[in-house]
């Protein structure tokens, strides 16, 4: 599904990723944990195609195609989805207008026809109900005046509607209370399927109680320094990241 080979990335002369290698298989949920500043968010932005980062070397292959050659919208149409750590507020853009524009843009890029309005509304309502998103939120401008939890639920709603192949969740648990964490996790779990993989980036083990990963990777100083099963997350919760801070050096 997703293969990252020897990824070297810098921003304004600061080297952040130092030859990172990572493979996530079809249907797999991989978690990346690591201390602050280890390059986790950079990795998520580089996968999605943010312009501020300079890729010096390496490849990111989605089903064998190098996404580094694609613009962010082409990556989205190819099946990549990034759930933002801090979803942006867009005043004046209605949530429904936005959702429909995204679905149709991706369909167009893939050479498919536009979604019909009744189908669209049915899909949105069904997905919103599962995520306990009130209809009133859908009538407002995108993310404007939403609480942190509401914004994260809106990200998962978008993920459910866009049906991506590969989802990156960048610290989706930050700013969530226990109930919101449960709702968001259930939303993610409902999307787990063959043909869809996840990369779950988090500081804390608690998210992984809800979204149970198949593999856990520890990241430090721009490299994956340890890989294990879900028990690795529990270990980290006990011992902290101290052991890994020096390993990459």
């Amino acid at each position: 599904m997703l293969e990252i080979k020897n990824l070297v990335v810098q921003i304004e002369d600061n080297r952040i990723l130092n030859g990172l290698n990572l493979t996530v298989n079809d249907g797999e949920v991989a978690a990346i944990m690591g201390p602050n500043g280890s390059g986790k968010s950079t990795l998520s932005y580089v996968i999605a195609g943010k312009a501020d980062y300079e890729v010096l070397d390496g490849e990111i292959l989605l089903d064998g195609n190098n996404v580094l050659d694609m613009s962010p919208d082409e990556r989205a149409a190819a099946g990549l989805f990034l759930a933002f750590q801090y979803p942006l507020e867009i005043p004046g853009v209605g949530t429904m207008t936005f959702l429909k524009a995204c679905i149709n843009a991706q369909r167009r890029t893939r050479g498919e026809g536009e979604i019909s309005t009744p189908d669209f509304i049915r899909k949105v309502n069904a997905a919103a109900d599962k995520l306990e998103i009130e209809k009133d939120m859908l009538k407002r401008a995108l993310n404007v005046g939403f609480s942190g939890g509401e914004k994260k639920r809106m990200e998962i709603l978008q993920m459910a509607l866009l049906e991506p192949k590969f989802c990156v969740l960048d610290e989706t648990d930050s700013g969530l209370d226990i109930d919101a964490l449960r709702i968001v996790s259930e939303g993610v779990n409902a999307l787990r399927a063959q043909g869809r993989s996840f990369l779950v980036i988090t500081h804390y083990q608690r998210l992984l109680d809800h979204i149970v990963p198949d593999t856990v990777h520890v990241m430090s100083k721009g490299l994956i320094v340890k890989t294990g099963g879900k028990e690795l997350a529990l270990e980290l919760e006990k011992s902290g990241y101290a052991d890994y801070r020096s390993e990459a050096a």
């Binding site: 312009a51 989205a76 867009i90 004046g92 866009l162």
Partner: protein
Amino acid sequence: MADIQNLRSAAETGLSSLFESARQSFASEEKISREEAFKFFEATGLPSRRVEAFKYTDLRAAIEDAAHPAEKPSLEVAKAAANAATAFVGIEAVRLTFVNGHLIGELSDLDRVPAGVTVTPLNEAMSQGDPLLKQLAPVAQTRENPIYQLNTAFLADGALISVEAGAKVEMPIHLRFVGTGETAFSTATRVLVTLGEGAEFSFLESHEGPDGIAYQPNDVVDTVIADGANLHHTRLNREGDKAIALSTITARLGAGSNIESVNLVFGGVLSRHQIYLHFAGENATATVNGAAMLGDGRLADSTLLADHAAVGGVSREMFKTVIDGDSTGVFQGKIIVRQAAQKTDGKMKSDCLLLTDDGQMMNKPELEIFADDVACGHGATCGAPDEDLLFYLMARGLPKPVAESLLVQAFVGEAIESVTHEGAREALIGEVEGWLRARG
């Protein structure tokens, strides 16, 4: 010391000789105000950048020649022009059609004016000495304004629209101004809208004209809004690409009255829209918004004066300018709060979105406050579309031009939101989408 006189420009000399030949036909009652207006204009001349209020919009440089006042066109010509006009056509409204600044009765719905409303063609009103004419020029500061005075001097046609006290009129009146011609011409129209106490009324204005012709429309709408009355105004400038389009709206606000006015500008190589608000009665409110979407080589100027003379007035102004190519946006806003106007609440904002590096935006906010218990503020922003927002939209699959268009629509949309008439609001949104499509 000898008087120092500026050399008169060709356009100024031309205007003087045009006025000289026009004055023969003036009726005696109107003669005085026209003569006074032109005298003022002759003393000031076309304002150049040396005049503070015209610093960024140099009319002396822009108007090279005085274009001839357009004659009333034949019905055939008027029909062809009106049929080609498309602005607001989808909106159910009572239409008054002006072609080249003349009211064309045959193309106007004068026989189906809504109950509670009287419409009188201006020429008829002037020849009959209609008492409503005394309400023209309801805001004193316009006497110092050369554009307004030029309109008074050359006034050719227009209409008086009077709404009875208490009338709640649902059907809007659409003032449809259409220009047509192969050579440059000028127009000067005046519409007076008076609302009786507690009345409610909406009107739309659209301005369209030929591309490639340097015609010079100068349109004025005066409004007098009695106590507790409520006026909604939506204006669309889709003038031709070489037009020098001058326009003014004035409002005299009675106690507890309200005006909402939105002006959306696409057309004209140069446009200047002037707004004069006079808060005469207590607790009046005004929401005045504007948006301009400017392509290469254009200049759009919005100049506003809000004069708070009574207690508790509330004014909200929001102006949005989208700059593409090497175009220029100008916003000048002045809020005056007189000593008696305690508890005034005024907020003025001008935002500019720069789509290229070549454009420019001039903002000049002014506050003159003589009362001590007021809340007044102004703000201005200017910048390119937010890269982070663009990335967020693109990461959801929107190609860059689509993402940018969505942000532009959202930006302009804020100024259009205040239009209460749903059809008019949707028509304006459609115009914005059309501009973005044409931009590609």
